[in-house]
């Protein structure tokens, strides 16, 4: 079944909710954001919330501890800042603090990412920041089957999972926040990310398992989210110049699939491409994983070095693009 990215997620949730009555959803505007689920599962299981993220994200921790399986929605991941205690000091700590005797099976679903000119308070990725909190898994699907499969896995997980839905892939988010129904604005939407084939019921995709999108021997791109599509584009350009690229889609930021990273690094030239902040994030962690394991090849990274600017042309320069990836690759290839 060919579906959009957003539909894939919805199908996975719908399937899981039909199977498991303990799954409930709450967050702002979920009665309309999830109108189909609302119509099917009713107001007892899809519960709109006030703009009180710290209360309802904190509540999600308690709900999960007490036997339900909540999907709690923080509209844009940027807003998680107002509720960060629930993540940093509660959700991620209960299992350890209880000596492993109590766990928090909560799914925190947020949209993330930029590319539509909404500036740096609404376009952050933050998978690096969230990953820096031990005890939480962070998944970032880049296409419909992964979106569905990772949602199913998140709903089966025993511990907190932050599920990040990139706005460039998610048609309704991009329409709400970017297009607003206009036909005269354009976004660089990766085709193969925005729609694709899924099975019904969708197939699980394991958390912590990266996926090789392309095998190659000259250079390796390690990336996540929308940027993997940029890497694929760049690798096509490189192919024309006879450089063969390996592209690894991490799919999960935490836990990192170290094995696949090491396997991918065999080309001896690694470019990490990360739409999130460059410093103190995913690209650093990958560098450490590589260095620790004895990798001695070339390493470079492409990422966002600061606040995401508003103007589209400035934003384009700030976020990783096919061009900037290509440039970085050329440099590391020494050509």
């Amino acid at each position: 079944m060919r579906v959009s990215f957003a539909t894939a997620i919805e199908k996975a949730i719908e399937h899981a909710m039909a199977e498991d009555e303990r799954i409930i959803i709450f967050g702002e505007d979920v009665h309309l954001l999830r109108n189909n689920l609302y119509a099917r599962f009713g107001p007892e299981r899809i519960i709109p919330a006030p703009i009180s993220e710290s209360a309802f994200l904190g509540a999600a921790v308690g709900v999960a501890m007490a036997g339900l399986k909540p999907i709690v929605e923080i509209m844009l991941v940027d807003f998680i800042a107002v509720a960060f205690d629930a993540l940093l000091n509660q959700a991620s700590k209960v299992k350890a603090f209880s000596g492993g005797k109590w766990n928090v099976p909560v799914v925190i679903r947020c949209s993330c990412g930029g590319g539509y000119g909404d500036a740096g308070q609404h376009e952050q990725c933050l998978w690096g920041l969230i990953s820096s909190v031990p005890g939480i898994s962070v998944v970032v699907p880049s296409n419909p089957p992964d979106a569905a499969g990772l949602m199913l896995s998140a709903l089966n997980a025993e511990d907190p999972v932050v599920y990040l839905e990139h706005k460039l892939l998610s048609e309704y988010w991009l329409d709400y926040l970017g297009a607003g129904g206009r036909k005269n604005v354009a976004f660089d939407i990766p085709e193969s990310g925005a729609s694709g084939e899924i099975e019904i019921p969708p197939k699980n995709v394991a958390i912590g398992k990266a996926s090789f999108l392309r095998e190659g021997s000259d250079i390796t791109f390690i990336s996540i989210g929308v940027s993997v599509h940029r890497c694929l584009e760049a690798s096509k350009a490189l192919e024309r110049e006879d450089a063969s690229s390996c592209v690894l889609d991490l799919r999960t930021a935490t836990p990192l699939d170290k094995e696949s990273i090491l396997e991918a690094s065999r080309t001896g030239r690694v470019v990490v491409v990360d739409e999130d902040y460059l410093s103190f994030g995913l690209s650093g962690e990958i560098a450490a994983v590589l260095s620790e394991s004895g990798y001695r090849g070339a390493f470079t990274r492409v990422g966002n070095t600061g606040v995401i600017p508003y103007a589209r042309h400035l934003e384009d320069r700030a976020l990783p693009s096919v061009d900037s990836i290509y440039e970085a690759a050329k440099k590391i290839l020494g050509t």
């Binding site: 702002e28 009713g42 006030p50 500036a119 609404h122 103007a311």
Partner: protein, 385 residues
Amino acid sequence: MILLVGGRLGLVFFLHMSLHMAQRFCYLSSVKTISKGDHMQGERKEVQPEYLYRQMVRARRFEEALASLWRRGLISGELHLGTGEEAIAAGFAAHLEDGDAIALDHRSTPPLVCRGLPLEPIILELIGSEKGLCSGWGGHMHLFSRDFLAASSGIVGSSAPLALGFALANKHLRQGKVAVCFFGEGAMNQGMVLESLNLARVWKLPVIFVCKDNRWAITTRSKNVTAGCLTKRARAYDMPAWKVNGLRVDDVCKTAKRAIERAREGRGPSFVLARCSRIDGHFLGDPLFRIFEEPLEQVKTITPPLIRSAIAKPGAPSGARARALFCISKAIALAGADKLKNFKDPLFISKNLILEEKRLEIEREVFEEIEKAVRTSLEVAGLKR
């Protein structure tokens, strides 16, 4: 049976829809007629109705100009218009002076316009020019003017702590100067706003909390997620709280004067709940709104999966499903109401505050002012009109 339920649910949905489709034709009369005006330059200190009216028209015309730039694809991201809030912006800004600060939310342009910021830098900013107010870095949710001590933010509720900071600095550096803080009724459920009410009171800060109650937070009717009454909530922090009809600029202006003077005199914070409306939806292109504007197309894409879900098994009992569907259609139906009703438009309501002749002159002048600002900005940015 399933079909029957499905049918019934569909019915509820369409009933709502058609009801409001009908109302739609009452439209086309109000705001758009205001377009000529009177030449009386309002005295700032005395706050003449002419001044207030002019400011409101300036704010409205400015929003409309932005909307048209947005429709041309020149403004990116979410654009939250402040149409329906002009009386609040004008009423408060009228009492502000050099050194006073304003902290704003995502509907920041009306207060900035009324506060007297030059318009071109704002327009340039919104069309993403590096010559803009913030060099193209901020955009509509992050407009900053150091000169006017004005700052906005897209995080709901964050204007409140910011205002406290402005007020505290004013207390130290600019005695008698205040900070005014704007946010929506939805923000009143955000912890930092509630904390700020308390902190303002215990630190006795010269800050005025202006809660613009348009009854909506995106697609949520705020009354469904807000317990109790908001003025009581504020009063529980031991500060005066006034309810005012935020559609009436004269009422707002009076209350604003009182609250601001109180703060200037060092008598601490206060809270104003100003009912207003949300004429253009949550943001431009609001999907709830679009159902009115292109009903057939929207209903065609929304309805089939909705009805399919509403009858799929297993799921909630049919009563619960009916309630859900009802709630969805009600939200859609209500969303457009603010646009449709003259009595919800502060400009329409204020018309009779001044003589028709003057009014028309003001409107004409403002029309020209905004036109010119847009023209200049587009020129500066190298875009055609």
